[in-house]
């Protein structure tokens, strides 16, 4: 503090000491008295020769109590050693020194003071030069507190940066890294020290570097922000060359005309991964739901077939009962003509009822909502084979497919065509399973037939059709122990509703071939 270089407080002095006249020569002591700082003059032995008014007022003690050793009691006991050590150093080196110490105020509180000591040598003509120490103290309590508050705040911020789980990196205007926190190591794999002075682009994959440099340059020139500074998702590059998703937020600070940019870089690999997993799960759910809808349509067909069986079996049972009874009575020669007539009438009625039920079923199947779209038959075959899953392996059947490439699309209901194909393949598997002493094979083929339609054939090495080749399409005809006898009948009506045909022929040397055709979309009279 420049109080000893003494700006001249002429006016102030004259006011303070009104008795004097301003024209009188300036007394240095008056000046010292008027200074707002605490000033004391100590002799070489540490005793005070003089303490100014400010000191007296601050300490609440009159001059008499301060002169001699008394003044030292105003120094905080913890600071005395430092206080005098510094004084000694000052004495020896002959320089003015500055230190800080707490001085006690009149009310007993201690304030921090900046203490400046200057060695003054005065020479009388006849005696040894005498040494005095001029001690000037300035109250810095307020500044100290501000400083401590600032330090606390800085410390807090430093702690935040040091312990943050995100990488915190500061850049200068050239894009060089000024600072990197410890988390940078975890995120990028670099030691913070390695990064100081390196360009930020070291942490980006190649494709981002040019973009970053151009963007950074443009920002410095225009100050226009082109990207979101809070939470932009970009790609980072680790020291080991691995790229990973990051979320970056950054801010700018100007200091002494220099701009510093600080970025918070968060590794969001895990979050991305979780999002990806969630996306996949959602996709899987959607697929499963679609699958479920499809399977339920297939099941509905199965349940329909079951209830059809019940419905139709009632009149069939009645027909059987009535005709058996007639035969028995006939054998006993006890069949009365009117009894026979009534039985025959009932038989006819039940026969009519059965065919009416079948007609209703046909109508129902035709009425079932049909969603026709362009289908790649090979794709449908692929789907059905996939649905069959391990059905072939489990039954020890070798599956062979021979699909013509680049077939034109057909117009059809995917589910219905799947149903037909599934039905033919299931029939094939059952027929093959009955054969135990021969190689078991099933072939699925697709091609364009002579009339330009798409032809799909399911060929098996099973038991074959024998003489029943035509009857298999009759509703409720079955060669299977647990068969409903509806599969081929329904399949045929489905294919016919698509404008195609379905038929069966013997396979050579063994088994059966079931083939169906579907007209190519966009061709033919329609």
């Amino acid at each position: 503090m420049p109080f000893l270089s003494l700006p001249v407080f002429t006016k102030m002095t004259s006011e303070t000491h009104g008795a004097r006249r301003s024209t009188e020569p300036l007394d240095l002591r008056d000046v010292i008295e008027s200074i707002p700082a605490l000033v004391l003059c100590a002799l070489a032995d540490g005793s005070a020769e003089f303490a100014n008014r400010a000191w007296q007022e601050y300490s609440g003690r009159p001059l008499q109590e301060l002169t001699g050793g008394g003044w030292q009691t105003t120094i905080h006991p913890d600071d005395i050693a430092k206080f005098f050590h510094e004084s000694t150093v000052a004495l020896v080196s002959g320089k003015s020194t500055e230190t800080e110490a707490r001085l006690r105020r009149a009310d007993g509180q201690y304030h921090w003071f900046s203490i400046r000591k200057t060695l003054a040598v005065s020479r009388s003509r006849n005696s040894e030069p005498s040494l005095r120490t001029l001690i000037a103290c300035e109250d810095i309590e307020e500044r100290k507190q501000e400083e401590s508050a600032r330090r606390y705040s800085e410390e807090r911020h430093r702690l935040v940066v040091e312990t943050a789980s995100d990488a915190v990196i500061s850049l200068d205007e050239s894009g060089a890294i000024l600072l990197a926190n410890p988390a940078t190591t975890r995120v990028f794999g670099y030691d913070p020290a390695e990064l100081i002075g390196k360009p930020l682009t070291i942490l980006m994959p190649e494709f981002l570097r040019k973009l970053h440099e151009a963007g950074f340059k443009r920002y410095l020139a225009t100050r226009e922000r082109h990207i979101n500074w809070q939470g932009t998702e970009l790609t980072g590059l680790r020291k080991n060359g691995q790229e990973f998703p990051v979320e970056i937020s950054f801010g700018e600070l100007s200091k002494d005309g220099h701009r510093v940019f600080t970025g918070f870089i968060r590794d969001i690999s895990e979050r991305k991964q979780a999002e990806e997993i969630r996306k996949q799960a959602q996709k899987a759910i959607q697929t499963a739901q679609a699958e479920l809808a499809r399977v339920s349509r297939l099941t509905t067909m199965g349940e329909l077939a079951a209830s059809i069986a019940h419905e139709v079996n009632q009149p069939l049972t009645a027909v059987n009962n009535n005709s058996s009874a007639c035969l028995r009575l006939l054998a006993n020669q006890s069949l009365q003509p009117d009894v026979l007539r009534r039985a025959l009438e009932e038989i006819v009625a039940d026969g009519t009822r059965a065919s009416a039920i079948i007609a209703r079923i046909r109508a129902f199947i035709k009425k079932a909502p049909v969603e026709k779209s362009r289908l790649d038959v090979n794709e449908v075959i692929g789907e059905v084979l996939a649905m069959m899953g391990h059905g072939f392996e489990e039954n020890g059947i070798s599956l062979q497919s021979d699909l013509a490439q680049a077939l034109p699309p057909v117009l059809g209901d995917r589910v219905q065509v799947q149903q037909v194909l599934l039905n033919l393949i299931m029939n094939g598997i059952e027929a093959i399973t009955a054969v135990t002493d021969q190689p078991r094979s099933l072939w699925v083929e697709s091609r364009i037939d002579e009339s330009g339609d798409i032809l799909v054939a399911v060929r098996d090495s099973g038991t074959g059709l024998g003489l029943e080749a035509d009857r298999v399409f009759t509703p409720f005809f079955t060669t299977k122990a647990n068969g409903m006898g509806m599969g081929l009948a329904i399949s045929r009506s489905l294919i016919e509703s698509h404008g195609g045909r379905l038929w069966g022929t013997p396979n050579h040397p063994r088994g059966a071939v079931f083939s169906f055709t579907l007209p190519v979309d966009g061709e033919g009279p329609s």
């Binding site: 009632q314 009645a318 059987n320 039940d350």
Partner: protein
């Protein structure tokens, strides 16, 4: 087969019902038909060998529930199930609960007739057994208390002398009681008497 035996048909399909009645009567069976389980339950249980030909799928009480209901009412009538569309668990349940047969429509007529014949035979045998037991019980009840006491002791293996000592009477008196009881019970031999008493004890022991 007893002439008086009756086959009850319960099926809610009128043409199945009437054709079944026709088929069963064509082999000389007496048939009564009902369109529901509830309708059958209205009827007084018959006093002749009988069986039920029952459709599984009925309006109202289903065939399987009806089977349980009959068991709960202690109506022991053999059942032949017929169904338009049966599955294995259904048939297992029916057979476990004592059904004679579980036929899937359309069945072979001979299978149905065979099942009905077996059912009626089983019911006839059961009724005969029950009637024998009733007769036996009546004969036993007709004995005097002392006669009942004496033959119970005889059957348990005691000698006449021991019984006389036990009852505090003469051995000759015991002999008289014994021969009279044998006569009233219509027992041909001592072994025959033992069988009769065992038979009488049978249901009583089971009940206790």
């Amino acid at each position: 087969m007893t002439r008086a035996s009756v086959v009850f048909v319960v099926d809610d399909d009128p043409s199945v019902r009437s054709s079944l009645k026709f088929l069963l009567s064509s082999v000389g069976l007496q048939v009564e038909s009902f369109d529901s389980a509830e309708a059958f339950l209205q009827r007084k249980p018959p006093d002749a060998p009988s069986c039920l030909v029952l459709d599984v799928r009925l309006h109202g009480l289903s065939g399987l529930d009806f089977q349980r209901e009959l068991a709960a009412r202690n109506i022991r009538i053999p059942i032949v199930f017929v169904t338009g569309h049966g599955d294995i668990p259904m048939s297992v349940r029916a057979m476990k609960a004592g059904a004679i047969e579980f036929l899937t429509k359309p069945y072979r007529d001979q299978d149905l007739l065979d099942a009905v014949r077996i059912a009626l035979e089983r019911d006839r045998a059961r009724r005969e057994q029950e009637r024998d037991l009733t007769d036996l019980q009546q004969r036993f009840n007709a004995l005097t208390p002392r006669e009942q006491e004496v033959i119970s002791m005889v059957v348990s293996g005691m000698l006449n002398k021991q019984i006389a000592a036990e009852l505090g009477t003469a051995e000759n008196t015991v002999k008289v009681h014994r021969s009279r009881a044998m006569e009233k019970m219509n027992a041909q031999s001592f072994a025959d008497l033992v069988r009769m008493i065992e038979k009488l004890k049978g249901p009583a022991e089971k009940a206790s």
